[in-house]
Point group: C2
Chain length 379, copies 2
């Protein structure tokens, strides 16, 4: 048996679902997890408990692996370079991953390759942020710490000069961006392999609530075909120029004047691709595994006219399992994906997928299930 | 968190794929496996290594579980009764499972409920087998040990009185059955829950090579609609009368004169249902988990006009992973399911699924991939 060992750094739900997708391939899956209670650590056979920020821990873990990939973007770049120097393939590699770790580096690179971004620049202090607002046509503006943010954390919607102070308190460089007039958010998800093969999933619409992804519709309804093609080409070009291996999510704004602008990049399976588990021929997780192993990629096309994903957030009732009875009985086609996490209000603890021919019906079913599991819908 | 713990006895590929299907439900999955190298033990987080034939081992294992289910039918009936006496739900229960463990008990029960079987009776010695042959219209006849057989083992195709000796050497009771004139083998697969809900999958055609399942076509091509309905009703009736909980496979002969006769029963996910992983809205594994937890069952309908499963047997080349390159590049829609087993000639080490609109194309793709992985097709 020469089946390879894929080493996954990070024990969150992305690692959990990547393991699930890797089981059919017969590969060996090894996990480096902070605690045995982490989402993925509950379901993976070969788990090392340790801190990915400690280079010795990371090196020991990597020694038994044929390739290393990630559940998150937080592994220090210098650690990744050390693993590469040890001869362990790291996918995506540090030179690519830095663009998902540092928003300043990301914006500079996108400018360099001519990819469309909101107006932006690094700002040095609150006064400089006010100066940027003047350059960008006035408040509101967006301030972001260049490292460490996700799901709305590390991002400030700044309406006044007073609002501009908080982002600088952490002592991390701050990126200022214009507040884009957008009609909706899209995501162009692609997967790229080391030998340069790439596949593009249909462009999806991503709806956020309070800065957290709430609903994803695949494909994005009423999206102009030419704009969809542009978005896919843009994602493929970014992946190639940045040397991405694995899944790349390019989060986009669709502007009121019909353009697309890059909002964020993520180089790992992404929430905007969870619909692929039940809605695409090959899921983002299966294709991520195939990519990091340099195997030919699977067909990314949809299996149904419409697929909808709704995230399940924790509500006031800790016993989400009790809600299964109603949800499963109401919709025998419903696909529940829970992460094994303790339910806390507002915490992402799972998602549901629905698919079918009629978008209104598919949306209603997903929303009902997500709301019922959370406890905001009770009938 | 009140997510339940499902205890799976047996570490084979059925347990492996049941774990895979259970991950999205957020349940906890605990495995009792003979060795850490067993197919499921490689990928499950919570594994107990022990011998299911030892009651103390079984009891210790079951103490941490909310329900016990099985990868195989070999757990002694008295052990299952002991677990039930300890208050652990066993699904399927011993009163049902005995019909899948003992072919003599199974035939007697099918006769009692009026389910159609080949002509049969228990025979006491080779001379009695010869007498049965005379009653059944002459040789050939089939002899089976009532316990312990699978995949052609424990089954003898008996052409002469001399052939009738071997089956009695093990000292196990022997069941004689007429050799049925059948055009093909079918399987009617259903899933039933403790509260009595049941779902029926489309009836499939199962093609055997050397007594081992080779190809499954879903749905069975050109099957008369009325006969398909009879087969589903028969499987549902058997499940109800025998008190089956979980997945029930009813393997059937379609006779040359247009009837169906029960060949075998299996009360667990079954090879004839592997197509459901990629071809049905809810897989047999997901529905088995839902059934043993008494959750509402998922939709069993197909997602494509045709789905074909081909088993992958070991060939002369131990490195099956190397064959992935060709198979995945040739057919980006191919679904490979490997079991993490060492490759030995003739051993079932995985299967592939294909689906689509055109049966000839779907069949060709599955056969090519299975043959290439085995090494019998090299281009």
């Amino acid at each position: 048996m020469t089946f390879p060992v894929v080493g996954m750094v990070g024990g969150g739900q992305l690692a959990r679902m990547t393991h699930e997708a890797g089981i059919p391939l017969g590969i060996k899956f090894k996990l480096l997890s902070d605690t045995p209670q982490d989402s993925a650590a509950q379901v993976v056979g070969d788990v090392v408990i340790g801190d990915y920020r400690d280079l010795d821990t990371l090196r020991d873990f990597a020694r038994g692996c044929d390739v290393i990939t990630f559940d998150h973007e937080h592994v220090p770049t210098e650690h990744l370079r050390a693993l590469e120097a040890d001869g362990i393939p790291v996918r995506p590699g540090p030179d690519a991953l830095v663009h998902a770790q540092d928003k300043g580096v990301m914006r500079a690179k996108l400018d360099e390759i001519g990819a469309p971004s909101p107006r932006h620049r690094i700002v040095t202090d609150p006064e400089d942020a006010v100066a940027f607002a003047a350059e960008a046509g006035g408040f509101p503006i967006i301030l972001k710490t260049v490292r460490g943010g996700y799901d709305g954390k590390g991002v400030w919607f700044v309406r006044t000069p007073e609002d501009a102070r908080d982002p600088f308190l952490a002592g991390v460089p701050v990126l200022a961006e214009e507040k884009v007039d957008f009609t909706r958010e899209l995501a162009a998800n692609i997967v790229r392999s080391p030998h340069g093969q790439a596949v593009a999933y249909p462009v999806v619409e991503s709806r956020q609530v309070d800065g957290v992804c709430d609903t994803v519709i695949a494909p994005a309804p009423d999206l102009d075909g030419e704009l969809a093609g542009q978005a896919q080409e843009l994602a493929l070009r970014i992946a190639k120029e940045l040397g991405v291996v694995g899944h790349l999510a390019v989060e986009l704004f669709e502007t009121t004047d019909g353009r697309i602008l890059v909002n964020e990049l993520a180089m790992r399976p992404h929430n905007s691709g969870h619909w692929t588990q039940d809605g695409a021929i090959t899921s983002q997780f299966a294709n991520h595994v195939r990519a990091v192993l340099d195997l030919p990629l699977g067909d990314p096309r949809p299996r149904a006219p419409w697929t909808v994903m709704c995230n399940v957030l924790g509500g006031d009732y800790p016993d989400m399992y009790a809600a299964y009875l109603h949800c499963m009985a109401r919709d025998p086609q419903l696909k529940i994906h829970m992460y094994g996490k303790d339910v806390k209000p507002g915490r992402k603890v799972g998602h549901v997928n629905t698919y079918g021919d009629d978008l209104d019906d598919v949306l209603e079913r997903a929303r009902h299930a997500a709301g019922y599991l959370r406890g905001t819908i009770t009938e």
